[in-house]
Amino acid sequence: MLKRLGTRLLKLYCHPDFLEDILGDLDEYHEQNWNTKGPFYANVKFLIDVLLLFRLSLLRTKWFYQNAINLAMIPTIFKTSFRVFWKERGYALLNVLGLTVGLTASILLLLYVESERSVNGFHKDIDQLYQVMENRTYSGVTSTNEFTPGPLNTAFKEDFPEVEAIAAYTWPYDPYFIKGDHRQRENGRWASADFFKVFNVDFIEGGAKNALTSPSQIYFSRSAKERLFGKEPALSKTIEIDGWGIFKVAGVFEDMPNESTLDFDFVAPFLVWKQINSWVDEWSNSGISGIAKLKSGTDIEAFNAKIEGYVQEKMGEKEEVAGTIFLQPFKDRYLFTNYENGKLTGGRIMYVRLFTVVAFFILLIASINFINLVTARSTRRAKEVGVKKVVGSTRGYLLLQFMTESVLLALFSALLAGFLIMLTIRPVNLLVGKNMNFSLIEPNQVIILLATGLLIGLVSGIYPSIVLSNFKAIRVLKGNFKTSHSSNGLRKGLVVFQFMISTILIIATLVVQKQLDFMENKDLGFTKENVLMVPLEGALLNSNVQAQLKSRLSANPHFSQLAFSGSTALTYGTSTDSGFSWPGRASALRASFQIIQTGHGFLETYNMELVKGRSFDTSLATDSLNIIINEQTAKIMDLEEPLGHAVTFWGRTGRIIGIVKDFHFRSLHSPIEPLIISLRPETSVILNLRMSNHTHQASLAFLEKTLKELNPDYPFEYHFLDDQYAEQYQSEMVIGTLGHCFSGIAIFISLLGLFGLASFAAEQRIKEIGIRKVLGAGVLTIGLQMVKGFLLLVGIGFLLAVPISYYFMDDWLEAFTYHTELGFSTFLMAGMASFLVTLLTIGYHAVRAANANPIKSLRYE
């Protein structure tokens, strides 16, 4: 063994002139050692001596075979390559098509992955930025969110020297900006003084000095400024925020170059907002977000350990549950968002990783096509190799010839893919809601593209080139030459692999689709179709105007039900623990109750079902003290007869008058939470409106007219509930669409390969089929003969794909609290689909071969 290895090594680098006698010497010496010191010593010594023979004076001077490539042959190599492409243009086309589609798909996927990864990453000092997160534990379950106690955001900096800056900011808010007659919504935040110390934005006008410290300051992004003020400088100009008074522009900053989880087109001083939201100043209320900038080099693990009990410490021994806070790196906020019981479990990163793998596999499938087509057709090139070898061509030259062909094809495909990506990037952007760029003028992107092409050309070319250049001239030229079994086996293995991957992708797509359908059609506990939501602003906040609106709309048959409320059935605003009590509530009970505050008619508008009791009654004034609960709340309260039981909620003591059937007011990822519905029309900010028919056009026109009359200052705005529902599953829908596209592409490329192989098989067996026909075989028999082998390969691929996809998709579905089941039918459908398309692909060749006239195929021999 060792000796053989040594010999090979020596042959590799020793000058061929010296090889024979040195090897002879080594052999002789080896034999001596064998006899005197034993086999082991001899073998090891042999190898060591070989290694020591790696000396400059003994090395070969020509590394790639003798006189490997004459430079003069290079044009010939290219010429031959192009002739081969032309001669076998069908196959060249198949290869180019497969590679182009594969490259396009993979690079688009990678661009998507890259853009997902770059969210948040562009901020300056991103490594020092951290989101303040909070864990809260209710009845043994810890939930994690980014809302933190307000005082934290001033105290934190004083208590911990590691904190360089910390800013409090509110959730996104889009008020109207009023400038003369012009009204314009802009999206932004109220943020405290350190905000621009944390986010080091580039100021075009004004600056970060003393920012957000005086109540009249406001900051705009460049695009928001241009929308509001046009091109002229806006510094020191004034603008009114609807409901908040006049503000003076203190600065304009450059737009964010990229997506961020914290976006803002305007930033207004937190202290203004705080004046009417004084609850923020309590340690027990977590309602705003905080973002911190730590000194560089701070050990985050150690720091998190240090701040764990901080809030509890500040609160002292109060009854309420204190959250524990920790910091999460801001750059992870987009991709790592799922916490389960306080532990990070992932988030979008799962999809990002998944797509990276899919991109890789699509490339692999395309490369496999290439390998298969070239090796399958190697018999055709065998004669060429034989003749070339006879005339004196070396293996090195042949290798170069075949590698050149493969690299040329791959590079050409890469170039085509580049154009294709440029063409498709716009629709893809629309599809996934991104703003990705690709251009063949961008040197970086072109280099990456061509490098990928080159790599694919090299990788997929190397095996066929070695096989082809290895043919022995004598055997090839003697006549009837068959490719080896090993390359046949490899080809089959690769086809199985291709179809395994494609089938896995198909199954995964089907499962995602099934889950999307499930969510679309899931009985949520309310009817989400035909419900319209209109924000209440300006005059509409006045209860008299609301009453007028109600009477006008009720008179119109287009609208069947309406309710004014603080939130819709899908958006939840607030929750409470200690704010809700009842005689007999165990003092140790910790629970978080979601709250919907509404006017009359809420349940009716949404078609919610009452399990027991009644809805709020307009004629009973005392109902404003009473509440309706859902089944989850009833379960937690654990009363014998909840109906009529006395309860106190946020200072009002009344009774439970009804229990509403559990409905999904959050996404199906999470379980239904306990809920309290309280009659507080004064808090209403939304009009929920059920339309009685589908003539939305007319209804909307009427609604717009009515609203314009009652509230002339504000433009007409509305949302459909089902749109809002669908928005919750945006990422799943994107996954679904991408899944469709890319599993389609994977199977398409695999089929291209199969098509090529089938046509080749038909061509090779042409005589066999002719003889069979002469002897009386029918078209069907021959067709089956042709199809059988390929279907077997596809079948094996399918069988391998089933357990793998079952494992992964079961895992994926588990992430939804409410999910569809992985049925037998999904797998059956995927199997049938791949079976069918395979049959169609190779069927063409099979039928053609079977119908061919045997006279033609048997004419020559």
Partner: protein, 112 residues
Amino acid sequence: MKKYQLGEFEEVVLLTVGVLHGDAYGVAIKEEIERRLERKASVGALQSALRRMEGKGFLISELGEATKIRGGKRKRYFKITAFGKEALDFTMQTRLDLWSKIPDVAFEFKPC
């Protein structure tokens, strides 16, 4: 020295090739060196010295007949050339010169 570049090990090898006149091939040279000088000589060092000196023209070589021993591989026999002899002479001469120039005093070691 420029004319005859001859390292210490090369000199030993060259001399041994002379000693083994007519029978100087790899293994024999190696054994002879190991026996006479009581030092190890690795195949690598030996072979590279031989090729180097052949390149400089101190040695010539020719392949012998193939025999059944050593798997039919031929031996390469080395012979010293006239130029090699000159180099050896030159080396010896310079050493002798040096020896003769050493004053007797230099070798008188007094006990301290």
